[in-house]
Amino acid sequence: MSANQDATNLLEVRGLTKIFGTLTACDHIDLDIARGEIHALLGENGAGKSTLVKMLFGSLEPNSGEIFWNGQAVRISSPGVAKKLGIGMVFQHFSLFEALTAAENIALSLDDGSPISSIAAKARALSYSYGLPLDPESLVGDLSVGERQRIEIIRCLLQTPQLIILDEPTSVLTPQEADKLFQTLERLRSEGKSILYISHRLEEVKRICDRATVLRHGKVVGHCNPREETASSLARMMVGNEVQAVVRAPVDGIETAQPLLEIRNLSRKPATPFSIPLKGISLNVRAGEVIGIAGVAGNGQGEFFESVSGEVLQQDAASVRIRGKDAGGLTITGRRLLGAAFVPEERLGHGAAPRMKLSENLLLSRHATDGKAFVGTGGMVKSGAIYAAAQRIIEAMDVRKSAPDPEAAALSGGNLQKFIVGRELDRRPSVMVVNQPTWGVDAGAAAHIRQALIELSRSGSAVLVISQDLDELFEISDAIAVMHNGELSKPLPIAEATFEKVGLLMGGAEPGHAEHTLETA
């Protein structure tokens, strides 16, 4: 490389625009990335971050605008072109074959046809030199999410990129795993490589990024040095106004309150070769409290939710008790009739039927509990009453929509989530179990949902929240338990819980293990 090239930026983007139908996802974006910097791309969901990086990686073609690589105008028409230029990407959602080994997965993405053994050796050497130890012979299906991410990173590094794009890399990591990743990133920076780091976690952006570009509604709203900003000033740039802080008043006398949801020694065999068995989970959620369940994705949270909700039944009827009644043998309808309400992780296709109207999606979870109000004699649906109830929920939760009663799929993720949570809150359930309440939801809507969950608990209900977002759990929970490899730790009262303690449990250290079998008592 000549000295002249060093003076220019590695990547310059000028006026990049992408239009989908009537939506301008990216509107004249300007972005410079210098050599050897970690550059943060900040923005709420739907701000245009993903669209922008897809254009940089060649998955999408821009409608207008220019991209300069080392000062040369380039057209990145496909991921192959991007790789040739020296742009590598680690996606948020991994594309790995679980039944193949790490080395085989890496070989699949390299088009050079070199033998597996040499790829494995290279991958092993590279992984140790960057402090991301990886056994190339291990089956992906056996690896943790953090280890899978290493495969993606090594796969990217093997192509010796100049620019590495990381999309929300820490969303699946424990705090300790994230620390290791940060060390690797700093090492890459010291080697002169550039990193485009996409995140909405402001603390880590402040910690490792040199510069930040903030997007809002598809436009660049500012460039800044994140180290000179506060988390709240960054949040203000992202959201455009102050996000209301969630208020959680302490509750008195919770120790004597009646447990409304009791889980006693709940076990479940794995349903598929790649699902997690549940091992002797015990937990009480009392009237008036919010219990949070932390954990890295894929440690049995989905299986646990299915078992508690009754989508999967238990052999032992006493392993799930709702309001003092054995519910393990009851279907989800039976458990709802006992006063429980559930919000699953997946919005489209699980919590809501995508092609059905919001009013029909209201009927989806409440046809039995509100049988008298919504269903008339002979099984006729009272569409007028349902429509009115749906409008009431839409208003209460401030759901933004384009038509009076749109299809669920027509709503943004955050607005649909507000509707789904609102649909259950509207019943005033005595037990509420929520999986990932604010996954992919913008900050304003997330605060609204969290506050609503706290208020539900304070009005005398038991609330159980499963989440990967530690900030969220610390904000709303009265106690936090951690799920790791199908086991649940003893809940830590919020006063005693720290990020470090919870992070250690998430990584599988078991300081609370000896006690947690006593939890049922």
Binding site: F20, G21, S59, S77, S78, P79, G80, S95, E104, A107, L108, S109, L110, D111, G113, S114, P115, I116, S309, E311, T331, I332, T333, R336, F342, P344, E346, G349, H350, G351, A352, A353, P354, R355, M356, E360, L363, L364, S365, H367, A368, V375, G378, G379, M380, V381, S383
Partner: protein, 376 residues
């Protein structure tokens, strides 16, 4: 190297969704014109004989109703299955079993007469069709078998069973050895609606009633909502507390009962006895009717009349022009082909992709796989 790819459209055109059956019909006419021209017949003449002459007199409209009744009855039942994403292809067999079960009374107890006979026969017909449809439902829910295969294969079992019955145990002893049962007595014959005007019988009324009832079920009742949820997103259906296995039985039993009712109505109304063949493929043609009617019971009534016309037209061109009546099957096949084609293009657009230029990730991986094997 080029490759075709179907890309999902972000929005469905409401206009074209509604126009789809008409577009399909127009395309069928064009393709049919080419076919007639290739057969050496003036397409205009052929179309007049095929589509217009069969319905130019009142008695012919009655014939149309006779053909349309079983198509509509069966298709209305099938629409519930298909909405639930359950693929009952064996309505032809359920139709035959309905015909056989309903004929038990007039064949085995010919001396039993009176106003009770007909309702009992219709009831038995529905039970027979439903019971036969329960077999693929049971196999699917118990053993996870593919209902398309089992329901289809049971059609052949039913056809051969009927053939055996009318040649063996149920053959009319005074029938000069013809393979058929005795003629049903008067109280076992489905009455004609307007005997002075034509042959149409109460089967057509049953079809209209079934269409309206199923329309109410699907659009106004919780059960219909359950069908639609389980069909469009089964996981959301499970979250709602709806059981997929129960739905498999519900859909199969309902469509089987309606096919069985169609079968006994046809035997008791249009034929008057059991014969080795009692259906010109109504159970299969009804699949086309169901889709041409957009799986909407009211649309199915219109589609049933159109498909009934293809049967009459096939007979007409055979007698007038000497063209095989198999041409009716060709028209039915083309109609289904174009309906499905139009529907696909409403939901997807075709994109032509040059492999060398823009290779998506997945394609690159698939191509890399053989290399991997060589490398090992």
């Amino acid at each position: 190297m080029m490759r075709l790819e179907l890309v999902k459209r972000p929005q469905r055109s409401v206009l074209f969704s509604a126009l789809s059956p008409f577009l399909a019909f127009a395309l069928t006419i064009i393709a049919g014109a080419i076919m007639f021209a290739l057969l050496g017949v003036n397409p205009l003449t052929a179309f007049r004989i095929y589509f217009i002459e069969p319905v130019s007199q009142v008695w012919q409209l009655h014939e149309l109703a006779i053909k349309a009744a079983p198509l509509i009855l069966i298709a209305v039942g099938l629409s519930v299955c298909y909405k639930a994403n359950i693929w009952n292809i064996g309505a032809e067999g359920q139709f035959i079993l309905g015909g056989i079960a309903g004929s038990i009374i007039p064949v085995l107890f010919p001396q039993f007469e009176g106003p009770l006979v007909l309702p009992l026969m219709l009831l038995l017909g529905m039970v027979g069709g439903a019971a036969y449809a329960a077999i693929p439902a049971l196999l699917k829910t118990r053993f996870g078998t593919n209902e398309i295969l089992t329901s289809l294969m049971l059609v052949y079992v039913a056809q051969l069973f009927l053939d055996w019955l009318v040649r063996g145990p149920w053959r009319d002893p005074q029938g000069h050895g013809f393979p058929q049962t005795i003629q049903f007595n008067d109280s076992a014959v489905l009455p004609e609606l307007m005997p002075d005007a034509g042959r149409a019988n109460w089967g057509f009324v049953f079809a209209l009633i079934a269409a309206v009832l199923v329309w109410i079920l699907m659009s106004r009742m919780l059960k219909g909502f359950e069908v639609r949820v389980l069909g469009s997103s089964p996981r959301a259906g499970r979250f709602a507390g709806f059981g997929l296995n129960r739905m498999v039985f519900f859909a199969f039993l309902l469509s089987g009962a309606l096919a069985g009712l169609a079968g006994i109505s046809e035997v008791s109304g249009a034929i008057g006895q059991l014969q080795p063949v009692i259906s010109p493929g109504y159970g299969f043609t009804a699949i086309i009717v169901a889709f041409l009617g957009r799986l909407n019971p009211l649309g199915i009534v219109a589609a049933g009349l159109v498909l009934a016309l293809t049967y009459l037209g096939g007979e007409a061109v055979q007698s007038a022009l000497g063209i095989s009546d198999k041409v009716a099957r060709v028209f039915q096949g083309m109609l289904l082909f174009f309906v499905l084609g139009c529907d696909t293009l409403i939901h997807y657009r075709i994109r032509l992709i040059g492999l060398a230029l823009t290779k998506p990730e997945s394609a690159a991986k698939l191509e890399a796989a053989p290399k991997l094997k060589e490398a090992r």
